[in-house]
Subunit: 272 residues, 2 copies
């Protein structure tokens, strides 16, 4: 690599990392396949299914699948002719949870927080394309039936109290874009809000109060109380939320939960 | 895709999945980068370091890194200009541990097994190129200092009691190849065996007894007791092992451990 080329690499490294033009299609396909196989409904797929769902040719899929299988990122079962996640992802995920700044500290404290709140608590991350994923969760040790969620659960859109905690800190232009997208797709969340104004007000309140509460927004019967976790640069790194049954939500209890979550978030500020 | 092409895809799908000719170089590079960033020593690397260690050009690395960053498989820190593992791997690894056949059941039982044995127990997987990786581990709840290992720890070669539990069930041609490789590289394990014959005898014993014991083979001062976990087709799927200090190993205790491990392995037979 000569000096000119070198300089160009350095320049592009500094520009936005979200530029699709710099994507390697086969690596993007590999990630799509892993995401597909990480959903319960599609945890075991044939080559044909993978090709259909990823909109890539069978030949291309097969080559990517083989490469992933060699590294044990996925497995191929000769009898069922199905692909599924591979065991190498287990230690890789474990290492990530130790190495991603702040996450391991927070994960260690989640069980204690769940005991304190008396409900399931979750640590959520925002993914590209307006999705939210459960990074970690903890449930209190009581024997009562309660709301639960699994690690890796994806929530499409930025709905619910936790989605709002991410969206509220975006620029208002992102709010507008999000509202238009929701109404265009007839999204469940859009139907929960009588108008664009009430939706904006909810986002403004979330931003002012630094917390959000939602009832039945992501799924009927479930409520959520959420607070943002700030990075040292002031951006929202993750969201900390409580998941509970709407029938067990009372306003006083909700306020107490927000207080606990916010105290915790304050202690964790800048960890990420 | 026409019928001919289809047929060719199906045929190649059935042939060995280890054929390098079918690899997609950028996907292989993506996996190498993730593996590199999952080691403690190289958990945070600049583009230059990644390019050097993966033997790929900066331009190629940058494009792969960008693609991985978009999916949150890795993260880029603008201040340090370093790449590290991304948070999306956490839920992905979690899903894999639930979905990889048998692993979640086994992981749930490991803590109880550790209590029973009184030492750290590990679940190990064989990776391509003769390495063994710790998929899961559990330590007993006593407060005594003990041997420990971290999840994701890689052991090169197929040494130690656990490596021998994998190698013993390979064809003798693989034994010979392994012995030649070890002696050629002046491997620690080769030095532990006075001759090729004693090494073969140890493998034959492992195969006959269905268990292995090693002292100081992977690291001085550490002993290991291991048994193979068989898949329903009779192949060795994983290895279950106890890690302890050689100074705390006594033959009677070792025999008791083998008994416990073998009873557990028998219960788990065919789970994988």
């Amino acid at each position: 690599m000569d000096r000119e080329e070198m300089k160009s690499v350095e320049n592009t490294e500094n520009s936005a990392t979200t530029d699709v033009a710099y994507e390697v299609p086969s690596v993007a396909l590999a990630m799509s396949i892993l995401k597909l196989l990480s959903r319960y409904k599609t945890q075991s797929c044939t080559l044909t299914e993978i090709s259909k769902r990823t909109h890539a040719s069978k030949t291309t899929c097969l080559r990517v699948l083989r490469t992933l299988a060699r590294g044990d990122f996925i497995r191929y079962d000769k009898v069922s002719r199905c692909y599924s996640l591979g065991a190498y992802l287990i230690p890789l995920g474990n290492r990530a949870s130790q190495m991603v700044s702040g996450v391991s500290e927070v994960m260690l404290e989640l069980p204690r927080l769940a005991e304190k709140v008396g409900e399931t608590v979750m640590l959520l991350e925002r993914l590209p394309e307006d999705a939210v994923i459960v990074l970690a969760k903890a449930a209190p040790s009581s024997e009562v039936a309660r709301a639960d969620v699994s690690i890796g659960q994806l929530f499409a859109g930025l709905g619910g109290a936790f989605g709002r905690c991410f969206l509220a800190y975006d620029a208002p232009s992102a709010w507008r874009k999000h509202w238009m997208k929701m109404t265009a797709t007839g999204d469940r969340v859009a139907k929960m809000w009588s108008s664009q104004e009430t939706f904006y007000e909810a986002l403004e309140t979330t931003r002012r109060v630094g917390a959000a509460v939602s009832h039945g927004e992501m799924a009927a019967g479930f409520s959520s109380v959420a607070v943002p976790l700030f990075a040292s640069d002031g951006s929202v790194a993750l969201v900390l939320a409580v998941l509970l049954l709407t029938s067990q939500y009372q306003e006083e209890r909700g306020k107490a939960m927000i207080r606990i979550l916010q105290q915790t978030a304050e202690r964790w500020r800048g960890l990420f």
